[in-house]
Symmetry: C2
Amino acid sequence: MKVTVSAPDAAARAAAEERLAALATPAGALGRLGDLGVWLAAVQGVVPPRPPAAVRAVVFAGDHGVAAHGVSAYPAAVTPAMVRSFAAGTAGVCALARQHDVHLRVLDLGVDDDLDGIDPAVRAHKVRRGSGAIHVEDALERAETEQALATGAAVADEEIAAGADLLIGGDMGIGNTTPTAALVAAALGLPAEDVVGRGTGVDDEGLDRKTDVVRAALQRAGDRVDDPVERLTALGSADLAATVGFLARAAERGVPVVLDGLISVACALTAEDLAPGATQWFVAGHRSTEPAQSLALEKLGLEPLVDARMRLGEGSGAVAAVPLLRSAALLLAETALLSDLL
Amino acid sequence: MKVTVSAPDAAARAAAEERLAALATPAGALGRLGDLGVWLAAVQGVVPPRPPAAVRAVVFAGDHGVAAHGVSAYPAAVTPAMVRSFAAGTAGVCALARQHDVHLRVLDLGVDDDLDGIDPAVRAHKVRRGSGAIHVEDALERAETEQALATGAAVADEEIAAGADLLIGGDMGIGNTTPTAALVAAALGLPAEDVVGRGTGVDDEGLDRKTDVVRAALQRAGDRVDDPVERLTALGSADLAATVGFLARAAERGVPVVLDGLISVACALTAEDLAPGATQWFVAGHRSTEPAQSLALEKLGLEPLVDARMRLGEGSGAVAAVPLLRSAALLLAETALLSDLL
């Protein structure tokens, strides 16, 4: 199931580079905001680019079997509580989304709870409750992976139909930095020690357990990880597979994406395998404190915009970067040309 | 002329730290945005802090005698042209200020041009035309330095009277990274080679000339640099002295400031000498590409929020960081407490 991705508009990119060079600013003085403006022109196919106005974020929530094995500082019961917090608008990313006029939607893909009483739309895409503990069993059945990938793609289509000109995929799920570290290790051929971080703040013993879990999961999965769908089946989860499907479909549809922290970037790395070239449509919002995120970003050739030692997840780092993206477009659109000035 | 600065509110800081720890987020997950929220609470004396709403930026413009000595990639004629661009709203920082609802004002402190036809308010605070070439003569007369410092303080008072709850000092002036590099070298006791950067993009020969100018200026000024007012007289300019006065008065009045790039941070370093403790009221907006800015930030103990290789000046890096400051306040104010959630 390879997905075909087109390249952003090369002519718009060239014209934007020309405009950037003609601005009444010293050459290179806009730094990464100059580069970002050029990227926005290429993905929008228009010069100067428009500041992204209809930014839409989807938080994919799910639980992870490994959470019962001491890999997280928090119990799995936090996941449904946080889904309710998203629905109530009181999670951290909700504050940022209101600030930046970003539409935010939370979807339960695999929370290990019935979420009684919550808006049924939140549960409409549920694939299963929880996922297998990846060091001892597959996270999903292959059919579940395919269902989750298709669901993520369908959600991207819905968001694009609602007018999105920039998409964000966020995450919620206690334990989710364990499967994502495993996904990064599998994609990059790295050992568990290189990719495992403290997630929400696990102690030294927990870090050792987490490393053991990732090592055992990689060994158990073996060569199956060469195929991205098998990789998600063995090491992922429904929420992670949905995020991969969401990102790959955004790229296929030519809608740009701001990536978030480890979960988002690990899914982007997987999406690139499923949809080669997808990364051309992605920009990195922030650098998290997780080592696997930096490794995956390096592989994708992406440099994050915000480096604030955040590790909240939820899409928060991506949403926090939205004003910088808008700045990049506005600088390219509204700064005088040198020829107008002198 | 020492200025007395009070410390931010320790009780508010403690209460904000307590609130941060009680949020329904993993400990430390907000990273620097968590720290910033605590700082905002301390400087505002209120918990949770308010997102800065009345952000006011003042761009202090001036020319520099050294510009005639091959230290810049651009001719001095660009300075008055850019002042007109600020007044017309077409400079880069103008786009960012509109985006973030930041009030922007440009003042001619020492532009080497009469700026005929421009709004007289822009010229109302002019101290002189240009400044002395610091490798061969003092930048200013001592009385001019004192006038510029007093003007900057008066401008801060005006902005605070207009309701500012966050201030930004920006800069415009071809050649201004040469005197500011000299100010940083003098304050830190460093040689010219350590502080000189490429500014707006000077070539290798220009960089050598710039280093020679800074070295000669430091040698010429000698021990006079131990006194911050003499330092500004020997090595500064009217626009730089006004920025120092502006920053020191903001701290004295207890109004927080977002610093910008090299010019802003070099002036903050000087303001700290004039008004010990002033730095408690400052936060670093962005990291510029100038080595002297990083050296001065390190001395002040400040870590920038945005690291985007910008080197536009104008206050642009500080204005670009404003949404992150607002995010910090909103996260502390609007995120659920763990006790509400479980």
